[in-house]
């Protein structure tokens, strides 16, 4: 039995459909991410699970029980809010104990649980501090401790890392996954950051305009995007629009402004309109023409990013822009304006319908 089941859930605000016909299942112990651009409905979906919004249509089943009409205070679910929403009039210990007091846990056990939670987020000794006396990262930990204190079946996290600076975000991401594995609690996290989702989640649902457009493991989402939207939203990508046709016995993608047809994965059928997606790190650059498929191009710019460099190329009659990720060592001998040959293997491209 899945822990969370969304069945045909829809929610509109006025005439704007925030969530449309979403069906999803989250298994026990998963670290599940809802990924999408802002306004895609991912936060509304999370709020529907938390009980802060009622769906117009559909059902929400948590651990086998229909929770569609159950108010937030009666759901076996806790949420970590994006703003953390720590109670400013209570100290850290009282914040963490807030939920325990609501369920009438006796004082001794409550205090023990607070200590346990503080140890879990490495904040022992901060019991008497007020939220405004904590740094952003510390508040984030307390918010996590408070949400976990009641040992919910499902923890909802709304953009848990968005308010942290870059270095702290990386550390906290590792800690979050560590805590999730240790406790075995099911996490449902909302994020707009594809790096974050790819790095933390065991499964990802990509959302766009209120709908779930693809569900899969991070590698599936990245390597085998199901649509042009997913390919563009998750990571960088080069897109080629053309027609899949036969040329000298081979199935290829004919792109009008490129001198040579592009290879497509085996088993592709003919299509009048298709899009080939190729990730920047799949493209190889050579100074001389290799055997087989290669595209002549000119180096436009090289953007140094530490270990990696992003090389921008221009190719074809329409001076189409391509981006290529190379190890910085390899990108060093590519002066601007130098001619190169770009190539990739047929299986590295993903053919999408337009």
């Amino acid at each position: 039995m899945p822990l969370l089941e969304l069945i045909g859930v829809s929610k509109s605000f006025g005439r704007i459909a925030a969530v449309e016909q979403v069906s999803l299942t989250v298994e026990r112990g998963e670290f599940f991410a809802l990924l999408g651009p802002s306004g895609c409905g991912k936060t509304t979906l999370l709020r529907l699970v938390g009980g802060f919004e009622r769906p117009d249509k559909g059902r929400i089943v948590i651990d086998g029980e229909d929770m569609t009409a159950v108010p937030p205070y009666a759901r076996p679910v806790n949420m970590m809010f994006q703003s953390y929403a720590l109670f400013p009039h209570l100290d850290v210990a009282a914040n963490i104990a807030f939920g325990l007091r609501q369920e009438g846990m006796e004082r001794g056990r409550r205090l023990a649980r607070v200590e346990e939670m503080l140890a879990l987020v490495q904040m022992t000794g901060f019991e008497r501090r007020r939220p405004h006396e904590l740094s952003g990262g510390q508040r984030q930990r307390i918010a996590l401790a408070r949400a976990l204190a009641k040992m919910p079946k499902l923890l909802l996290l709304d953009e848990p890392l968005a308010a942290l600076d870059r270095k702290l975000r990386e550390e906290t991401r590792l800690e979050l996954t560590g805590i999730q594995e240790r406790l075995g609690t099911t996490f449902l996290v909302v994020t707009h950051d594809q790096q974050e989702a790819l790095g933390m989640a065991s499964r990802i649902a990509v959302m766009n305009q209120g709908r779930v457009v693809q569900v899969g493991r991070p590698a599936e989402i990245y390597e085998r995007p199901a649509s042009r939207f997913v390919a563009e939203f998750v990571g960088a990508v080069n897109l080629f629009e053309g027609a899949v046709a036969s040329a000298s016995g081979e199935t290829v993608l004919q792109v009008p402004d490129l001198p040579s047809p592009l290879p497509v994965p085996a088993g592709t059928g003919f299509q009048a309109a298709a899009v080939l997606a190729v990730r920047p790190e799949k493209i190889r650059l050579r100074p001389d023409r290799p055997t087989g498929f290669a595209l002549p191009a000119t180096v436009c710019s090289v953007g140094y990013q530490g270990a990696l460099s992003v090389v921008h190329l221009e190719a074809g009659s329409a001076r189409r822009r391509l981006s290529v990720h190379l190890a910085s060592a390899a990108a060093r001998d590519l002066p601007r304006g130098s001619p190169v040959w770009a190539s990739w293997s047929a299986e590295d491209g993903v053919l999408l319908t337009r």
Partner: protein, 294 residues
């Protein structure tokens, strides 16, 4: 440049102090001077404790006026005033908090309209509004006639000139001063805090008791102060709506000043009232001052 900046700052900081000194401290000192003087058949009707004599400034104060009010019925009036004002503050809080809460929870489009309605009575003269209550409450007034017609009472009930009409008048007049600061306090409250409380298992009334009310304490403190302080010295409402049994310090002060023409004693009553009110103001400021930073 720096000099001008420093001067500007001095003017800016000095202005409220100058205002306070000119319009509060100076009048208070003048009243204190009268309170330390002696009543006399003169114009003005007192002998000042400060006088020029033998080419020098002579200071000859008397504490007789303070002694008089401390022993006489005056203290009863003080006590009654404080009690009346305290009750009025509690009633305003009980009525005002739900109203402020309802305005805060209503849709944004309604909020401004409702706030406007709270302030609307200010557009009519305060005196006319109190007179209107007299018309409503008198034995042949609107309320009695409605109650008679509804068969709830058999003869007109005395609604006017008693503690009921006094409290009703105070509640009616001071309610906006309770609602507005509480609403101001509530409107700064982060909605996510309410959701977080509900998420952690708090039922609606516990969210109210454990999150909303504690976080609106600054507004409650400010509202209580805005009602309590003027209600203690209120004169018009007790004069028009209260009965002979409702002794209030404002009425006593007026009587000493205009009926007995005993300026020094009236001044002593006023000085003692200001001193007595400074205590609740300081207490309330402690409560308001505890407001959380950011």
């Amino acid at each position: 440049m720096n000099e001008i900046g420093r001067l500007g700052r001095a003017v800016l900081i000095g202005f409220p102090y100058a205002w306070f000194g000119l319009f509060f401290l100076l009048p208070l000192l003048i009243v204190l001077k009268i309170a330390l003087g002696r009543s006399a058949d003169a114009i003005p009707p007192y002998i000042s404790p400060l006088s020029w004599s033998h080419g020098g400034l002579a200071f000859d104060p008397t504490l007789a006026n303070f002694r008089d009010i401390l022993c006489g019925g005056c203290m009863r009036a003080y006590g009654a005033s404080l009690g009346t004002a305290a009750l009025a503050t509690v009633l305003c809080l009980l009525a005002g908090y739900p109203i402020a809460y309802a305005i805060w929870r209503s849709p944004p489009l309604w909020r401004n309209l409702l706030l406007f309605l709270v302030m609307l009575p200010f557009w009519t003269s305060f005196l006319i509004r109190v007179y209107a209550w007299m018309a409503i409450l008198q034995p042949s007034g609107l309320l009695n006639r409605v109650l008679l017609a509804a068969g709830l009472i058999e003869a007109p009930v005395p609604l006017l000139y008693n503690g009921f009409s006094l409290q009703l008048g105070l509640l009616y007049s001071y309610l906006p001063f309770m609602i507005l600061p509480i609403y101001g306090s509530l409107s700064q409250l982060d909605e996510a805090l309410l959701e977080a409380a509900a998420d952690l298992g708090a039922r609606p009334w516990r969210v109210l008791a454990e999150v909303v009310v504690p976080l609106s304490l600054p507004g409650i403190g400010a509202g209580a102060l805005l009602v309590f302080v003027p209600a203690v010295g209120e004169f018009v409402i007790p004069d028009l709506l209260a009965g002979p049994g409702n002794l209030m310090i404002g009425k006593l002060l007026w009587a000493q000043f205009f009926e007995n023409r005993d300026w020094p004693e009236a001044a002593a009553i006023a000085v003692l009232m200001v001193a007595g009110l400074a205590v609740p103001i300081l207490v309330a400021q402690r409560v308001i001052g505890r407001e959380r930073p950011a």
